[in-house]
Structures are given as C-alpha cells and as structure tokens.
C-alpha cells in the first residue's frame, strides 16, 4: 500500500477544510498538507448556501447583541464561551474573505452591505446576492491555489482513521478513479466532512452529504454531540427540496396560509408587521425552528394548500418587484421557475419545511479539538456548540471560517508536540482497513440491496424524527436503525470494478448515515423535553433541570449508541424566554 506522509491531513475540502488548509499554509510554510476530499473542492455543498454570513460590522451593532441572538436562538444549548469566541472572530474572518476577493454586495460608498436574517436583532449578514456560499467556496478554493504546500487529493474517499498510542495519526482513503487504497500518515487530522442531511428523503442537502466525516470520528470512539437537533429550513421547494434562502424573508417576503393569512402571528411571532417592511427578529424573521414548527400546526388545522408534493404554505415576494428580486434574489427566482414553474415576481411560491442542517456532530471544544488527541473537526460535521438547539441562519458560513482556522492552529500546535509514530502499528491498521473493503468486494452471500436499505432508513427518519416527535415513534426509529445496521452487514455489491465504483461509495455512505442515524435516534429518544429543533409531543416544555446538557453519543459497534451528558457552558446568559414578538408587547 502506498504511504503518503503529511504533517496535517484534512478530510473534506468545503468551506471549513479549505479555510483550514489556507491557515496551515500561511502559518507554517514548511508544513506538508494533504487535503483529501471525495469530490473536487468546488463541488462541496458549501456552494449551495445562499443567504450570507453573519458578523458584526455596522456601527449600530455589537458583539454582545450577536452573542445574545445566537444564545437565545439556540435555546440556551450553545456553549457561551464558544459563542463569545465566535462573535469576536466573525468580522475578522469575513474581512479576510473580502481581502481574498469575495464579491460581497456593497453600499454606495463601497463598504460591505449587510441584510436582515432570521432571529438576528440587527442587520449583520454579509451577502453576495443569493449565492453567498458559492462565492465563499470558490474564493477559498481559488485562494488555496497559490500555496504549493497544499497537496490536494481530489476524489479520494476516506475510509478509516488510524489511531495508535491514544492519538489520531492519519487515515486510509481510496483513490476513486483507481480503487487504490492509500495510507496517509499525519501528525494531526482535521475532519471537515459536512453534514448528514441525506439520512432524510426530503432535504436541501446535496447527494454527498452523508455524514462520512462524523462517522469516521464516531467509529474511532469520539462522541457525536447533540445529534437529535436537526434543522428544518422553513422554505424549501416542495418537489425537489431546493433551498429558497431565508433572505427571501429578510428582503421582505411573507408567509401565507391558504386563507392568505400571515399565520406566524398566531405562533408567538406577531403581531403582524407592515407588508414590505420586515422587522428584525419577529414574524417572518423569527428563528427557523419556530417558523418551521408553525407550518406543522397549520397542517393540523387544515390551513395549508394541498399540492401534488404534499401540504404547503405560500411564500409571497411579489411586492418586492422584479428589479429588486433580480438584484437580491436572482437564484431563487431562477430555481422556482426552473423546477416548479413559478415566477416569484408574479406568483406566491408553495413551500414546505425541509431538512437542512445538523446542529449536532463531532464533539469539539472552542479550539476545534475532539476528545481524541490529534483529531480536530470544523464546519457542519462538528458540534463545537455554537448553534445549540437551533442554528440561526447565516451563522454557519461564518462558523466554518472561524473554526476552520481554529482547527488549523490547534492542529499545528499538536503536530509540533508529538513524537515519532509507530509505523508498524499504523501499517497494521491500514491493512485492516483495506481488508474491510476487500471483504465487502468479495462478499457473495449478501441478500440486501443498498437502495432498499437506504429507502427504509429515509422513510423511518422522516416518519419518526421530523418536526414533532413522540416516544413511540422514536422507539420505532431506534429499533429500525438497529435492524438496518444488522442487515447492512449483508449488503452486496453489484459493481465489482475498481474504477469509480459509485455502487461501493454509496454502500460506504449508507454505512456512515446509519451510524449517524443511530446516534440521532437514541439521543432523541433519551431527551425527554422540547428545546429548539427537538420537539416532543409528549414532553412539550423545555426542561433546564434535567436537559440543559449536551447529549454525547458513543459508538458501541452493532449495539445502540450509549448516551452520556455534558453540561452546557453558561458564562453570562442564564436560560431565559425566547421572545420573537417584536417590539410590540
């Protein structure tokens, strides 16, 4: 097996991975950096983020206000030391992107423009039309091209971490075009593998978002934190699940039920604000959990519009006018026309909540370090506990910059502190990793099909782990995932080629998703309260006495995950009431 020696290996080349790579290269030009990704960097799902990135920049704003919005938005499950670090670093990182050429929208005087976003009391979302994630990703990718010490391994599928002497020392990955497995020895490893929204059938997430990075760490014994918190974005196209950015509402779009009523006022987010004059942190600019949950109640009341793709509410942007829409929301207009045949300039567009983001992930601290020495993580795959029980829109693009950089600095410090590796031990692990893949290749007694198992998983997740959950439903989901993980051992490959074997990669991805689903379902069953995005019909109140804690899921092989708890870090904001009723009392 070919061995690649690196100082730091990064798994995943989306926003967080690229930001980490640049920080590594700039901080120490002698470092050998291996940037490994199952797709070319610009295919990473960061490209699909639309609305923008939050960071305090305007004079009427303050770090304290960004802190308060984030902590309250997260229903007090955020670690406040983390939030404080984040809001402080955010403007620097967004300015850094500006210096690297990101085409942020501008004010007339040439300073960067900001827009309103849900749950934010001030305008602080930097944006590049409604293609912010796309521009951030490409700016970062293009910036990496000037650093010769970053060696990219595009289209390499990460298989297993190498852990010896109690620390992470590398990984194995398969070159997708040849099927060759390589061993990457690295003093530090940073996982930036993205989310796992593909566990669900209806999601904004691209096909690649299968939780591989989370599963890598989880199987190596690192806990997944707060996995039960799954964000539904309130406004997805009902057929494809394509995201219509929150900026639709930030710019003044309104949500209507079938009677034309702006129903959010009936769910603690009113009173109604004047049309075309969005008011921060209320009505359509409420937080995503509340806005999505209001949809569920409207369905129960029979107030939704029935479409071929299910029950919908309406997003009305007609009053913004064609010129403004084309300037601020061109992609949204294009998507709605192309995939649904609705021109938002002329008609309200039917939408429904759609799985969008995992608040949970690999448990990390504010330095982006995991419990396993030598292993770091950043971006959606990590749970640094910025987002708590509900992420505010536009915090995650900034998060991947702030913690991508933090992970790089921590990885350097670790790399400089460690002694030589036991190469024989690492090689033995790499051989075992290769043997695992070979067993899958040679398996002939399998009876299960990948697509069949995947469909059963998705159906279970949608039915039982959605906006509102119950004991019975979650127990059913836990049991089903246990069963599917057993049956997964009998899955058989149809494709035996070594060249770009997508059948194989889909089987591996399904394995990742089932591991993530195990942590999610067990964590959700154990959390007997309603907080943020985790709503239980049988435990409707937030329970700070018992659950102002992070759930920590530990991998137990074929058995269900073991759940432990970790106290939330509270520094200055004691748990309070989330108030989205605007200035009206």
């Amino acid at each position: 097996m070919e061995i690649v020696e690196a100082d730091v290996a990064i798994v995943g080349a989306g926003g967080a991975g690229l930001r980490a790579a640049i920080a590594l290269a700039q901080t120490d030009p002698t470092l050998k950096i291996a940037l490994i990704s199952k797709v070319y960097p610009m295919r990473s799902h960061t490209c699909a983020a639309e609305g923008g990135a939050a960071g305090v920049i305007k004079k009427d704003d303050s770090l304290a206000l960004h802190f308060d919005d984030t902590v309250g938005g997260g229903d007090w499950l955020s670690d406040q030391d983390c939030v404080e670090y984040f809001v402080n670093e955010a403007p620097k990182e967004l300015l850094q992107l500006e210096h690297w050429g990101c085409p942020w929208n501008r004010e007339e005087d040439g300073s960067v423009a900001v827009r309103p976003f849900g749950g934010m009391k001030k305008q602080r979302t930097w944006f590049a039309a409604d293609k912010s994630g796309f521009h951030i990703l490409h700016t970062l990718f293009q910036t990496t091209l000037q650093f010769p010490t970053i060696t990219r391994y595009d289209e390499y599928f990460a298989l297993d971490l190498l852990v010896d002497e109690g620390r992470c020392q590398g990984l194995t990955a398969m070159e997708m075009k040849s099927g060759m497995i390589k061993q990457f020895n690295a003093k530090s490893v940073i996982i930036c593998g993205g989310g796992a929204g593909r566990m669900f059938p209806f999601t904004t997430n691209g096909a690649i978002k299968t939780g591989d990075g989370m599963a890598l760490a989880y199987r190596a014994g690192v806990p997944l934190k707060d996995m039960e918190f799954v964000q539904y974005h309130p406004t997805g196209l009902p057929n494809t699940g394509s995201l219509l950015t929150e900026a639709c509402r930030g710019e003044g779009g309104v949500m209507l039920n079938k009677n034309g009523r702006r129903y959010l006022q009936d769910y603690g987010m009113g009173p109604e604000t004047p049309l075309g004059k969005p008011q921060l942190k209320t009505m359509e600019l409420g937080p995503r959990d509340r806005v999505s949950q209001a949809y569920w109640h409207e369905v129960q009341k029979g107030n939704t519009v029935t479409t071929p793709w299910g029950e919908c509410v309406l997003l009305d942007m007609r009053h913004l006018g064609e010129k403004y829409i084309d300037e601020r929301l061109p992609l949204v207009r294009e998507l709605a026309i192309a995939y649904l045949g609705v021109d938002i300039v002329k008609d309200p567009v039917p939408i429904r909540p759609v799985v969008h983001y995992m608040m949970g992930g690999i448990s990390t601290n504010t330095k982006a370090a995991t419990e396993l020495p030598g292993l770091f993580a950043a971006g959606e795959c990590a749970c640094v506990s910025l987002n708590g029980a509900n992420r505010l829109g536009s915090n995650s693009l900034t998060e991947l910059l702030v913690f991508g950089k933090a992970a790089a600095l921590s990885a350097i410090a670790h790399a400089k502190s460690v002694g030589p590796a036991n190469k024989a031990a690492l090689k033995a692990q790499a051989d075992a990793s290769q043997a695992r893949i070979r067993e899958l290749f040679l398996r002939t007694d399998g009876k299960e099909s990948m697509s069949g198992l995947r469909k059963e998983m998705m159906d279970t997740m949608e039915k039982n782990c959605g906006l509102y959950r119950t004991e019975a439903g979650l127990q059913e989901a836990v049991n089903k995932i246990v069963e599917l993980r057993q049956r997964y051992n009998k899955v058989v490959l149809h494709d035996k080629s070594n060249v770009f074997n997508t059948d194989l990669f889909q089987v591996l991805e399904l394995g990742s998703m089932l591991d993530c689903a195990s942590a999610l379902t067990v964590g959700a069953l154990a959390r007997k309260e309603s907080r943020g995005a985790h709503q239980r019909l049988d435990y409707v109140e937030r329970d700070d006495k018992n659950y102002l804690r992070h759930s920590m899921a530990y991998y137990q092989g074929q058995d269900t995950a073991r759940i432990d708890y970790l106290d939330v870090v509270i520094t200055k904001s004691p748990p309070g009431v989330r108030d989205y009723s605007g200035d009206h009392k």
């Binding site: 797709v39 070319y40 610009m42 295919r43 990473s44 799902h45 490209c47 699909a48 620097k92 300015l95 500006e98 210096h99 690297w100 050429g101 085409p103 942020w104 929208n105 501008r106 004010e107 007339e108 005087d109 040439g110 300073s111 960067v112 293609k131 796309f134 521009h135 490409h138 293009q142 091209l145 000037q146 595009d154 075009k177 691209g206 096909a207 057929n239 494809t240 394509s242 479409t307 071929p308 299910g310 992609l331 294009e334 998507l335 192309a338 995939y339 045949g341 099909s449 990948m450 697509s451 149809h494 494709d495 080629s497 070594n498 060249v499 770009f500 074997n501 997508t502 059948d503 889909q506």
Partner: protein
C-alpha cells in the same frame, strides 16, 4: 392529492469500464418518470431500480455545484438542469462531456481543466495590500458589477465540451479559465493583471479563440465567457500598441 403525470422515458447511456471494455458502447434503459423530472432524476431512477453499476457524478441538484455536466442529445448540459419536458417523444442519449477523456461511463477525467484553472492565478493579487485590521477594500456597486458576471462560473466545464478550438487544440487554456483570470483582472482590488497576461495573452490563451461563441451559448450561469475573451483580446491588443508604438513603451 393529485398525481403527477408520468411517462416512460427511454435513455441511451454511454457505458465504458476500462477494466473490461475495449471501447465505449451504448446501453438502453426505460424508466417511468414524472413529467417534471430532469435527466439526472431519470439516471438516479435507473441506478436505484435497474442498474447500480452506472457511474456518474452529481450532488446539489440545483445547478450550482457543477458536478453533473454531460452531453444530452449531443449538447453539453447540467443533467440536473436538463428537463424531461424538453425531450418529449425522443430517446434521450446521454454521454460524458465531449473533449475530455472518459474515466468510466459518464465520468470524465477533469485533470486538464483543473490544471488550467491553477495556471491563470485565479486569486486576488492585491493592488495595495493592507492588513485586515484596516478594514475592507472599498468597492462601489459599479466596480462590483464590472466583474460580477465573470465570477459566477461554477466550473462545470460545459464550455470546454462546446468549444471547437479546445477540441482541436487541447493546449488552449479555454473559456472558463480565461474568464476567471479576466474576473480578477477586472476587480478594482486587484493588481495582478501583468502576471496573468503572461498566461492568457499567449497563443495558448485568447489568441487561440476564434470567437464562435459556443461557450456562451451552453453556459448554464450566463457567465458569457465569449464576451470575457473578447474583452481580453481588446485589452491585450491595446497593450501591444502601447508597448510597440508609444515612445518609451507602456510603463
């Protein structure tokens, strides 16, 4: 709930596995698809229900990640943005992007394009560097609009598949990469034009382009690479005149 109208879609898909095929061949599939689907959805249905061995790239399903470029009935398209409603009554022939080597089935080898992107130095080379503590570089909306269109490229490589010059002369740096260089050249914050000109104003650069405009026709993001290349040519010509005809050259 009303049901979506479905129809039987016939596909002819290019297959090639270098481990067992001496040359590519076409395979026929038939799948039931709702009318609103795109070609990618049909391929996914084939892969899920008929043939798990079919290989292709895709991810976002919203025409922004640039993964799923393919030839659809001879035209370079993002398969997530090629609508079945536009192919009623015909067999849909799906092939890997033209002008690139085939890795397997619909997957092409992208190395050449990736190398070319890097060669044009597609990153900001600041005109007046300053630390971030001094805040942002000012850029007015008018200055932003000068390059914004050219920053929209998703690197899907459709323009290379459409380009007759790239087909004949693979050394041609090509539409997307030159456009990206132009994007930075036009950015008011940038001072790196001279460095990029060394790559794009050569024979392998813009002068290879015969301005057929096929790149702009197939671009799914309306980036207009042909327009960018034309602007580069004009600017390079002006450079030449300044250098050769003005006393003391251009600097």
């Amino acid at each position: 709930m009303t049901q979506l109208k479905q129809r039987l879609v016939q596909l002819e898909v290019l297959r090639y596995d270098p481990e067992k095929d001496t040359e590519p061949h076409f395979q026929k599939y038939e799948v039931m698809c709702p009318e609103e689907w795109v070609v990618l959805d049909a391929l996914n249905a084939v892969k899920e229900t008929i043939d798990p061995t079919l290989a292709y790239r895709w991810s976002c399903h919203m025409a922004v990640c640039g993964s799923c470029g393919m030839m659809v009935n001879g035209e370079p398209k993002l398969s997530c943005h090629a609508f079945l409603r536009d192919y009623v009554g015909m067999v849909i022939r799906v092939e890997p992007l033209a002008n690139f080597p085939i890795e397997r089935d619909l997957v092409t080898v992208a190395d050449d394009f990736i190398d070319k992107l890097k060669r044009v130095k597609p990153y900001l080379i600041p005109k007046d560097p300053k630390p971030i503590e001094q805040g942002e570089y000012k850029q007015t909306p008018a200055q932003l609009m000068k390059y914004r269109q050219f920053s929209m490229c998703i690197n899907c490589m459709l323009c290379y598949a459409a380009c007759p010059e790239y087909a004949l002369q693979p050394k041609f740096i090509g539409p997307a990469a030159i456009t990206l260089a132009h994007r930075y050249n036009q950015d008011s914050r940038d001072g790196g034009r001279d460095e990029r000109q060394e790559v794009i104003a050569t024979n392998e650069g813009v002068w290879e382009c015969s301005f057929v405009g096929a790149c702009s026709e197939v671009c799914p993001k309306a980036v207009d690479p042909a327009g960018a290349l034309q602007q580069v040519k004009v600017a390079s010509t002006i450079d030449w005149f300044k250098e050769h005809l003005l006393p003391g050259g251009s600097k």
